[in-house]
Symmetry: C2
Subunit: 233 residues, 2 copies
Amino acid sequence: MIKALFFDVFGTLVDWRTSVARASAATLRPLGFDLDWLAFADAWRARYQPAMEDVRSGARPYVKLDVLHHENLRKILPEFGVRDPEPATIEELSRRAWRRLDAWPDVVEGLRQLRTKVLIAPVSNGNISLMADLAKYNGIAWDAILGAEIAHDYKTNAAVYDAACAAFDLPPGECAMVAAHTGDLRAAAGRGLKTIHVARPNENGPGRGEAKPGGPVDFAVRDLLELASVMAS
Amino acid sequence: MIKALFFDVFGTLVDWRTSVARASAATLRPLGFDLDWLAFADAWRARYQPAMEDVRSGARPYVKLDVLHHENLRKILPEFGVRDPEPATIEELSRRAWRRLDAWPDVVEGLRQLRTKVLIAPVSNGNISLMADLAKYNGIAWDAILGAEIAHDYKTNAAVYDAACAAFDLPPGECAMVAAHTGDLRAAAGRGLKTIHVARPNENGPGRGEAKPGGPVDFAVRDLLELASVMAS
């Protein structure tokens, strides 16, 4: 019996791509830059996994994802010909862009229903303040914010899943990871958690996302409303 | 400008005394015990500070408050003549009693209003699962659960206040501790946080609680509804 649902956030709950593109345009267009904003968002996101890998491998101590987002933004700006904006502008954009991400249409109501049945928490690589701001922006209420910051490590390392189960005092078999990314679910299953795949066929652009799991999972749902309707309370 | 409110929980937000008495009676009376249930709750609570002191002093590594509650219950049972209940009964009572604590009448609505203005989080000595269950029981939505478990230390040690500010990426001067206990507020002020006293004149029984702060604080309010009405958004 599942007593807690752990949610991946970027891509699974929120549309990071169009939201980051919009936030980047809102900040940089008034400074005279006219970029392919979706390509800009993609480039920013492309540096996400390599940056975390330094922490996962032990080459670098844990730092919050806010720090990595800021470093990654500084790296891609010159690639897009954006030279020498004010440091405060970069800092503000890097923080703000990843806090104003629109939830997919089923998410707010789906989570509201699920929270009446089980414990729900983000188990994201995003840090606590980022998760709190993102929840507030979208009108989401969590039971707790778990994930990378309480583990001081990044998914898909085992410590993140283990720390989430431990925080709720639950054996992993009574917890389920919910994600639109098969790799995340595979890692969670490796720690004994149940796995639930959510289809997000347009995460990386039209038709470029996981419409179906790319490997074995316990359940696969169309969206969180479907999950809420099939989940026993 | 205050951007986050950190709440003490036991006594400040919830009436632990009558709730623990009720839960203890519900478990032990059917086993044939007829105790002074309020005295039982007081005795259980009286072991709270000494048990945490072992962790605060460094004599013992951090363990969750659930563990201390369980140990303390085992110590007081013989004092009340309750001998040899099943270990599962003790375990169940120790977990359950501190998760079904009724909020004071102003709390749920007060927190709902405050959450529309600033970040709100418990900064309690209670562990994450205890705080999550308590919030769910009362219908409270937090922005995050901070406090002892993320600091691996107990109030009033500095690490707990410091870790809460750090989790929200805020300087302590933009955070306020809200409590009905002057000692908690004094310690928070020592780390640079603002302090808000809430009157709970009946916490330890009729007329036995802090109706007013016992030392200097930044603000003193009657209840959370008053705090919400004076708080700028």
